[in-house]
Symmetry: C2
Subunit: 455 residues, 2 copies
Amino acid sequence: MEQFKKIILTEKEMPGQWYNIAADMPNKPMPPLHPGTKKPVCEEDLHAIFPPEIARQELSTERYIDIPDEVTNLYHTFRPSPLFRAVNLEKALGTKSKIYYKYEGGNYSGSHKANTAIAQAYYNKKDGVRRITTETGAGQWGSAMSFACNHFGLELLVFMVKVSYNQKPGRKLLMNTYNADVIPSPSTLTAAGRKILEADPDSPGSLGIAISEAIEIAVQDPYTKYSLGSVLNHVSLHQTIIGEEALIQMEKAGDYPDVVIGCFGGGSNFSGITFPFIREVIKKNRKTRFLAIEPSSCPKLTKGIFTYDFGDEAGMTPLLPMFTLGHSFIPDKIHAGGLRYHGAGVLVSQLLKDGFIEAKSKMQRECMAGATLFARTEGILPAPESSYAIAGALDEARLADIEGVSKTILFNLTGHGHFDISAYEKYFANNLPDHELSAAEVEKALAKINPIDCR
Amino acid sequence: MEQFKKIILTEKEMPGQWYNIAADMPNKPMPPLHPGTKKPVCEEDLHAIFPPEIARQELSTERYIDIPDEVTNLYHTFRPSPLFRAVNLEKALGTKSKIYYKYEGGNYSGSHKANTAIAQAYYNKKDGVRRITTETGAGQWGSAMSFACNHFGLELLVFMVKVSYNQKPGRKLLMNTYNADVIPSPSTLTAAGRKILEADPDSPGSLGIAISEAIEIAVQDPYTKYSLGSVLNHVSLHQTIIGEEALIQMEKAGDYPDVVIGCFGGGSNFSGITFPFIREVIKKNRKTRFLAIEPSSCPKLTKGIFTYDFGDEAGMTPLLPMFTLGHSFIPDKIHAGGLRYHGAGVLVSQLLKDGFIEAKSKMQRECMAGATLFARTEGILPAPESSYAIAGALDEARLADIEGVSKTILFNLTGHGHFDISAYEKYFANNLPDHELSAAEVEKALAKINPIDCR
């Protein structure tokens, strides 16, 4: 009686390189533009906020980039991460399909964010940086960065989106335990924050605002750099370790995914699990679908437009070619704080535009129902963000059953929900609102964008 | 530059049997006595609250007991668990000693309690039981049992010690997510609970009271059985998987512990990590010390007496030969709720009496300081219970340095503290009281015991 199936790899089997999909994309991503000159940025332009190696990786078209030994060593405390076959979930559904999930919550930070936090902290330390500023939504990224910075001897200042700061005090305390300073955003520490608070003293904040605040502090001091947990190419690069491992593990399981699913905020975990499988489509003509699941209240992929836009609220980042709802869009206070972002990463946006990936939006109550079923059958309590990927996987399994076929479904379980238990409390109390952004709301948001021609 | 060292085992390397130390103890444990007749209980006596296989294991003197396939299958979702060399903690201490820890928090329940929960739920299901009642302190045991019962199709009713119910709402919600009913104890559901509430409506509760309530419900219905998360022999038995794995892992590390350390509540995790190493002392004359760390506010091992006493407040369990502060002792409201128990398990008590193990008590603030240092260096956020083992390990390392020697120290990191973050909050705010039970308090507690001659 086989009830569970876990596919593990040894440390020696862990891939030694990250995969850069830019090398293989038929249409290369368009370059970021300088926010002032509107001309393509070069590596040097990025040195104002990033150390040289991060700037290099951001614009690189090299196919593979070596993972440094110091990063590998910390990865080995929790990597390779396990791949599970969700046998009990399948039974509960009564599906003919096979559901696999890659679990990225089994590390100190409880989410996939550690994969890039460790790399970014390392490169900053190597470059002589002393302090890092960053933003965080629900707190996974902030927690990941806190321990990584403390490990490499860097100070960290985190701007935490205010709604999450209030919803999730545990995450703030975890960051404090790891020695970081945490400020609710919008704050009065920065001009960007003060401007928002003047217009709306009760602003719940957004990732876009928190990014503006973090960058504003970083550019004032040559020994302080900024660090971003999603969206950018180097972040997606570091996350590809997820998909590279999953490829080997699916092979060990004697299976191959018909569809690969990830939840979608800025795109980092989605890129991480899908890019190596997309490479197999491009280079080896494999047939796999890729499905990004975003919140109905923040539907940049399904209702946004593809245009150059800022990554932050105040317009301090380079202009990025992305699917966006506009950098001033402030999403609903959903519990999946990590998905409350107006835009999609550059690589993912181009791939969506070119038809390599699909996107779908879902409501939070349905996602929490899926997360509860998952917890009861598979044991792991999913983060609210991860619940979107689960809901996407359940949809695929049910659709396959209706069609009378069996699919092999792989999704990324980005993290655990131990610090998000209040979301479950509200779900059980039937106290979790649903909101699908209406056509009028979409129109209003998009009208604020000042589009630049994107071919 | 090696910063971390993780020693993992494959599923095939996981031992297939639990180890029963009763087979090898020079002085066998004295038998439990029937609470009514005061005569030694036999297996049949235990059938009122336990299924036959559990009753058999409780009184067994077989050296090894096979782990059933169904249990192994669920174990494999998180076992073998990793053993880490705490290189960064060693560096922070500047110690010459080597510190290893076995991490038992990487499963759905976040603690070692899953090891016995899965076995107990399985044996109950196999015997046709429909519902289980149990107690829980901080909630680790209750969480472990909730998922295990749901997995095997059993209902679960959990009496959660009221102080923890209020301190740790997250644990209650986790149990609900896993489909269990959770009642704060003392409750009005039982005569035992009502009696306590009449005497003290504000009673914080204790594990002893919660056990009485759970047993009272169980004995009323032939399809309901009771399940205990610590103290008893079969619980210690199931936990020996920890030490059996650690033995193999220490060998792989090319090392062997001079001292093995565990925190101490009722003794289950301590038994689990130490018993296989104590076997090596008894059978192979290995030289290892064994150190139990208990809270200064609940010092049964260091200040209690060895006598027959009840396992619960109301006197419904068999009388057990144990180190105890008396079954009516209500410990301070420390955050390590899992250590708030008046007595020590039978096997551990006999081994302490016979000089195989040592015990030491510590204050919670010192333990939380150790836990914070551990989190900052090793990444994992320890449960307040586990912080006692950490503090014990730090003491051993510092003492060794004073003596100018290098020791190999192994401790059991029983679980993560994700649901106990309020303990860290209070520690950081300098709002965590310390209390060492005074001689007068000890005398008062012990005076209530009606001792039975224990040789």
